[in-house]
Symmetry: C2
Subunit: 361 residues, 2 copies
DNA sequence: ACCGCCAACCTAATCGTTTAGGTAAGGTGA
DNA sequence: TCACCTTACCTAAACGATTAGGTTGGCGGT
């Protein structure tokens, strides 16, 4: 049946296009009776407004985008849940831009997605990775606010919600030291995901304090690469690590596959701890001790912050002031993490974290 | 800096808006020299085309939407990967519409998302669940083609890529019979996901042939509900099942949590098999025997089919023929599944499936 | 010199909404 | 009666791109 427009509703009801528009979008200037008549006709004809035309004419946008790299990391699922919860779906549309192909970050794809977001004049962006400087600049030029989650670009004034990775990693390291481990192997993703910095520095400090030896092994951010990297490392190095620290979920998965294949027992032969809680963590063999970022809380806060920035921006624009988003110092927040002690680190079960007690399943 | 338009580029270069448009979109009628000049100016000024205006004017759309319910099911991640692979990202944009809130299907959200897809005049839809009839009708009215994956609506003429769930389930059942299990418990999600039908009928037939007793326990499609439902069932029923068949991943997760808590040993006290492969399946305690749907292949095929339908539709429209999509019998395809035998069913490792041999990790 | 053709470019209409700026009818108060 | 509101509605001008249908100027062929 194709192309039904307001003009068709206008003809069907005898009202002008203006009145139809007002009736459908809920503005005033239309009597209750006429509105009902128009809504009924639109419903019957199956009319749906053309968003391209609407957005072209309207000033304010209502779509925010979440930029991630590799949604296979279950961390992102919780993040998204938090974001969705903070943005009323009847008022906002959330879209996801995944800048990874086959699970691996792709620079050209990042460029295309940023381009695409500007093309559709997105109201705001939540980014789970450090974007390339030219892209943050381009978004800034178009007055599109960005909130970074668990990452923040070098240009330091951008809003961000990050986990306090340094302190959390320090806590992890202290726990490992208590177990008596001296040789630590940190299997980690590249610095594009800037949570790397805090995690590494915290572990370094803990290792220094405990007199342990920390080896950092960098790998691409997917399970297969992690497995290969770890295999080569174990083959090449003389000493075997006492404990393996997996930088995130895909890396843990790759490492666990290798350890199982090589019949390396956990934690007897090598202890394991990992970053980021995941659904199956308590049901693996053995259950995995995990540093739990509150990614849902991170998502919730990021979305609320972004919403606030957008609203303030719109208000300023109405008043004829600058239309660029205003970033304030309080737009940089940190949320604490908790350590979930399970079998893989050498513990039995039940545990301390930031002062709170956690039972494992 | 706000609102940069083609007119600005036009003023900056001295060319008309027409020439700027042609230069940027790669059409002819522009000399190579002028084009370079225009591209350079656009680049320097940071101009990005306004997609709303572009889509309003243009006939053809280039966005396809994937409708899912609860992306926490890792099945969807593979599905998405397959879809992405089949749709060249420089030509197509793929968006995800998740019709679940907090992991549970939400009817009102489905209505909103369908509305939203029509508003933006989406080129086509891939749906992972049976949509409400009024919604398939509305999409049909707007000539938006739909391909269903692992589900198909009652109106039977729609394109669909489904796993051959009946035959696959029959295979599962036969395997369970070989282990000698007589009491089967099928923990399963509602029929809104229509893969339920084939899975249940295959198990029923297998149970009949083997003289086993099949109990079907329906639960909402998330881990927490599954856990509660299973707990009540085990408490209430006199006989304990020999084997638990989990209808999908979240249900398996819920069930495994309960079995571990109650110290029910797998497979000694109760065997477990599940539908849908997942990343951690070989690393749980014990490794889980799984019926592996080739969800990436399903996604790939669905995307290719949808693309074909859209292209045919556009061609017909150019010729002035009907603009509604043409659905053919060959648009209904089935892909086979494979059974991945691991420890949880009572096997040791390594296995048959559809004639192919599979090693478990 | 003349004609025709092509490349390169322009003007202006158009897509489907929203909205600024009207108007006409009816009510109200002095 | 008149001036003045208010309500309910309309006309017409945007929004920023694409594109049908011109208009040039230059070149080649005869």
């Amino acid at each position: 049946m194709a192309r039904l427009t307001m003009r068709d509703i206008s003809h069907a009801t005898g009202f002008s296009v203006f009145t139809v528009s007002r009736a459908l979008s809920g503005g005033d200037g239309v009597s209750e009776q006429s509105r009902e008549q128009i809504l009924k006709a639109a419903q019957e004809l199956g009319y749906v407004v053309n968003r391209a035309a609407q957005e072209l004419r309207r000033a304010n946008r209502d779509t925010v985008a979440v930029v991630t790299a590799g949604t296979s990391n279950s961390y992102y699922l919780d993040l998204m849940a938090g974001i969705q919860r903070a943005l009323d779906p009847s008022a906002w549309t959330v879209i996801i831009g995944d800048v990874a192909v086959d699970g691996a970050y792709d620079a050209r794809l990042e460029a295309r997605i940023v381009q695409r977001l500007i093309e559709s004049r997105t109201a705001g962006v939540i980014s789970a990775l450090t974007l390339q400087p030219e892209h943050t600049e381009l978004l800034a030029k178009w007055d599109i606010p960005i909130v970074f989650v668990d990452s923040s670009p070098e240009a330091a004034h951008f809003p961000s919600i990050t986990t306090n990775n340094h302190d959390a990693s320090l806590m992890v390291g202290q726990h490992l030291a208590e177990h008596g481990y001296r040789e630590w192997l940190f299997l980690v993703y590249p610095t594009k995901w800037s949570s790397r910095f805090g995690r590494e520095s915290g572990l370094r400090e803990a290792a220094r304090l405990a007199g342990a030896n920390l080896v950092v092994l960098e790998t691409a951010n997917d399970a297969a690469s992690a497995r290969t990297a770890l295999a080569h490392h174990l083959d090449d190095s003389a000493t075997s690590p006492h404990v393996l620290i997996a930088g995130n979920n895909p890396l843990l998965l790759g490492a666990m596959g290798l350890l199982r294949q090589r019949m390396i027992r956990i934690p007897e032969d090598m202890a394991v701890v990992a970053y980021d809680e995941f659904a199956w963590s308590a049901l693996t063999d053995p259950p995995i001790t995990v540093l739990n970022e509150h990614s849902e809380e991170v998502g919730r806060r990021a979305a609320m912050m972004l919403r606030g920035i957008i609203e303030e921006q719109e208000e300023a624009q109405r008043k004829g002031q600058s239309s660029s988003p205003r970033y304030l110092p309080e737009h940089q927040q940190q949320v604490p993490a908790r350590l979930m002690l399970r079998g893989s680190c050498g513990c039995a079960a039940g545990s301390v974290l930031d002062g709170a007690l956690v039972k494992s399943a």
